[in-house]
Amino acid sequence: MGEFEPKIVGFLCNWCSYTGADLAGTSRIQYPPNIRVIRVMCSSSVDPIYIVRALMEGADGVLIGGCHPGDCHYINGNYKARRRVVLLKNILGTLGLEEERVWIRWVSASEGQKFADTVTEMVDTIKKLGPNPIPTRWDI
């Protein structure tokens, strides 16, 4: 087996982050292919269960992308998302997972570069953390 390549699931809101990710591609800005994106309408429609499910299934990291504070297409969905992610992070430790495996970031439709940088940075961080330990544990 070669170098550890983390698997990252991205939940990106349709209006800002997903469009920002599209822009990265349109501008041919390169980032590692470790991220696989699921489009959601708003960051507020990301159930913490999805994040936990991804981690349980062996994702090494989860990225939630939303509009900048104040810019959510649905007024305030990103604030709801932020609160949920903060709560979720509190319990990640009890599962034996590092908080840094779950990222929530604001990427606007015009921030292709920021999206690419975020993914690159996240891949680096998780490479340092190593693989998600959950799949190799038998107790959960």
Partner: protein, 651 residues
């Protein structure tokens, strides 16, 4: 189980150069439910569309997955193809293997791997997609225009002339906006009120325009085609049906010449009862409750003199604020701009020296209906200035204030040079301190060429304006000659930055429209949808979107009116069916979703105590679905089961 077809697009070589498309199509054949899979050069072409439609028939497909560009590009196209092929359009899913795969990665093996994962996730979602039908909303063929400046006036007239009823709401007692404060307009030197007043009259007399002045938007609910708007109509204390606009009350008022006249930037005084300006529309007076003795203290001498003076008995101190309710299909926002606050201009002495004024103040001094009846006089001593100095880009193009260009400053200063030479005589001295002269519009550069000889141009920003002896002085480093110069002058005119109106966040919130980083209202696309907002059915025009001159404002206002007509001309609109729904068997009626919904689309039924969704109001964000503690809330075709399955399959 539903049979799926997978169609992998090469997009010329845009995808196929980085993703092994044949391999992806071959791989897809092994996925659950996939009956048929193929690849083609351009799926979005006619031939590609026919390929999909024929495959649907031939293989009796119930769902379609297209692996191609972003769904933001072609989801619409392929939904239509799916529908034309005989399958409900909502059984289509797109795997984005161009923007988010082939274009963003440079390793073909890994990109192909990722493309397969994206197809897997899209296929499992398609398998679980429900067929959906759109509900319909009736369109109210009426429009609301917010703001009665030149943008609002133009938009209202265009819509009313097209045949729709228009409600034009203006905050001030008269329509006309900033343009009514201008004397002449560049580059043609048309008299501003001569071209504006006829349009204002037209608004007033138009059978299909309902003019609501001295009124503000209180709240907006509903959605495209069917907005419910509450308008707060402030009391004028004048019965507008009786008032003839004679202004006898104004001359009679005990507070005559004692109240600051904001229309003239407090350079002269008015009465407590006033007419904003002589051409005001409606031509009715207004009593200012902050300065009227009777309204403030319940007593005005032996009795209000205005009441005595008014022959028609139009004064009505008992008027109350009213809330009007309107129902409209579309809304145009044209609320205009403010000038940057005087405090931001402190280094140029705006607050300290009376002879430091802004361009708009100069407009009032030049205007024959202004405080000096058209004579340009220094506010400090009432004498005509022999030298006037303009400072351009005050607060504009300045990282510490406003990074943007005000787009009108250069041209308005050039116009003023012409007008001042006319007023003050050929040998008066006019200096212009500029950053760049931006004369980009039609006829602008030619106008600049004419004016260039009439004034002294210094390319540089003065450091500060100070009082030395009895005159104003400033230092400017002229970058064209490389010399540091001291300018002594009688009057300084600042050309300040244009900024969003102070109430623009309140308006943005009431209408649920976004603002860009600079605070102006945000257009849906800077090039292709410059009048649209992200909220369907709401359009923007004029300086509330970004600074612009009158010609661009009028063009944008007509554009916004045309965009609104596209909606108003329809009897019904289809609602997006990808909205929330409730499983009534599971809903416990806790009401959490009602609180979470930003659109008031959710209500608890009084009888059944079960949550309900108003599909016309629901925008489909999905927040309520996550908030529901009992999983009774469903986001159609974004169900929890679907997303969980996608998670499992994308890894």
């Amino acid at each position: 189980m539903k049979k799926l077809g997978v169609f992998v697009c090469h997009c010329g070589i845009n995808i196929s150069s980085m993703v092994d498309v044949e391999d992806v199509a071959e791989y897809a054949k092994g996925l659950d439910g996939v009956e048929f899979s193929t690849d083609y050069k351009y799926m979005c072409s006619d031939v590609g569309a026919t390929l999909i439609k024929e495959s649907i028939k031939e293989h009796d497909l119930g769902g379609v997955v297209v692996a191609c560009c972003s769904p933001r590009m072609h989801e619409h196209t392929f939904r239509k193809v799916t529908k034309d092929g005989g399958v409900n359009a909502y059984n289509l899913e797109i795997a984005n293997i161009r923007e988010q795969c082939s274009w963003a990665h440079d390793n073909k093996v890994r990109a192909t791997e990722k493309a397969k994962a994206l197809v897997r996730a899209a296929a499992i979602k398609a398998l679980m997609d429900e067929s959906l039908e759109s509900s319909r909303t009736k369109v109210t063929p009426e429009a609301l225009v917010v703001g009665g400046g030149i943008a609002g006036i133009q938009a209202a007239l265009d819509l009313a002339d097209t045949g729709y009823r228009v409600h034009l709401v203006e905050k001030e007692p008269s329509i006309g906006g900033k343009m009514s404060q201008l004397d002449k307009t560049f580059p043609t030197l048309d008299c501003s009120s001569c071209i504006l007043t006829p349009k204002m009259m037209e608004v007033y007399n138009h059978p299909r325009i309902d003019l609501l002045t001295y009124s503000e938007i209180e709240s907006v609910e509903g959605s495209i085609g069917n907005y419910n708007v509450k308008v707060r109509k402030k009391p004028r204390y004048i019965d507008t049906d009786k008032c003839t606009g004679c202004t006898d009350c104004v001359s009679a008022c005990r507070m005559k010449d004692r109240v600051d006249n904001e229309f003239n930037f407090n350079m002269n005084k008015r009465s407590a009862v006033y007419m904003t300006f002589p051409q005001a529309i409606p031509l009715k007076t207004t009593i200012d409750p902050d300065s009227c003795l009777y309204l403030r203290f319940g007593k005005c001498g032996d009795g209000p003199l205005c009441v005595e003076a008014c022959e028609v008995g139009a004064i009505d101190f008992d008027q109350k604020e009213e809330i009007l309710e309107l129902n409209v299909g579309s809304i145009i926002v044209a609320t205009g701009y403010d000038l940057v606050d005087g405090a931001a201009l402190y280094e140029y002495g705006y607050d300290n020296y009376r002879d430091v004024i802004t361009t708009l103040e100069l407009e009032r001094l030049i205007s024959s209906s202004g405080p000096t009846a058209g004579k340009v006089l220094c506010p400090s001593n009432g004498e005509a200035p022999k030298s006037v100095t303009f400072i351009l880009c005050v607060g504009s193009r300045d990282e510490t204030q406003c990074s943007w260009c005000c787009r009108i400053g250069c041209m308005s200063a050039l116009k003023h040079v012409y007008l001042l030479k006319e007023k003050l005589g050929k040998d008066s001295e006019i200096n212009i301190c500029y950053t760049d002269i931006r004369s980009f519009g039609k006829g602008y550069e030619e106008f600049y060429g004419r004016i260039r000889k009439e004034a002294n141009f210094f390319r540089g920003r003065p450091s500060e304006v100070r009082m030395k002896g009895d005159g104003l002085k400033m230092d400017v480093f002229d970058t064209t000659t490389g010399k540091l110069l001291e300018i002594a002058t009688d009057m300084v005119v600042l050309v300040p930055a244009l900024v969003p109106r102070t109430d623009s966040d309140t308006i943005a919130r009431a209408l649920n429209i976004s603002r860009s980083g600079d605070g102006f209202f945000l257009e849906a696309h800077p090039k292709l949808r410059p009048m649209d907002t992200f909220t369907n059915g709401i359009f923007i025009a004029g300086c509330c979107q970004a600074p612009k001159d009158i010609q661009d404002t009028v063009a944008q206002a007509s554009g916004a009116a045309a965009r609104a007509s596209v909606i108003l001309s329809k009897d019904e609109l289809e609602n997006d069916p990808l909205v929330a729904a409730v499983d009534p068997d599971i809903c416990a009626g806790c009401g959490i979703c009602v609180e979470v919904c930003p659109y008031k689309a959710r209500t608890l039924n009084d009888w059944t105590k079960i949550a309900e969704v108003d599909e016309a109001l629901c925008e489909g964000c999905g927040a309520c679905v996550i908030a529901c503690p009992s999983n009774a809330s469903i986001h159609r075709n974004f169900t929890k089961q679907q997303i969980m399955q996608m998670v499992d399959n994308i890894l």
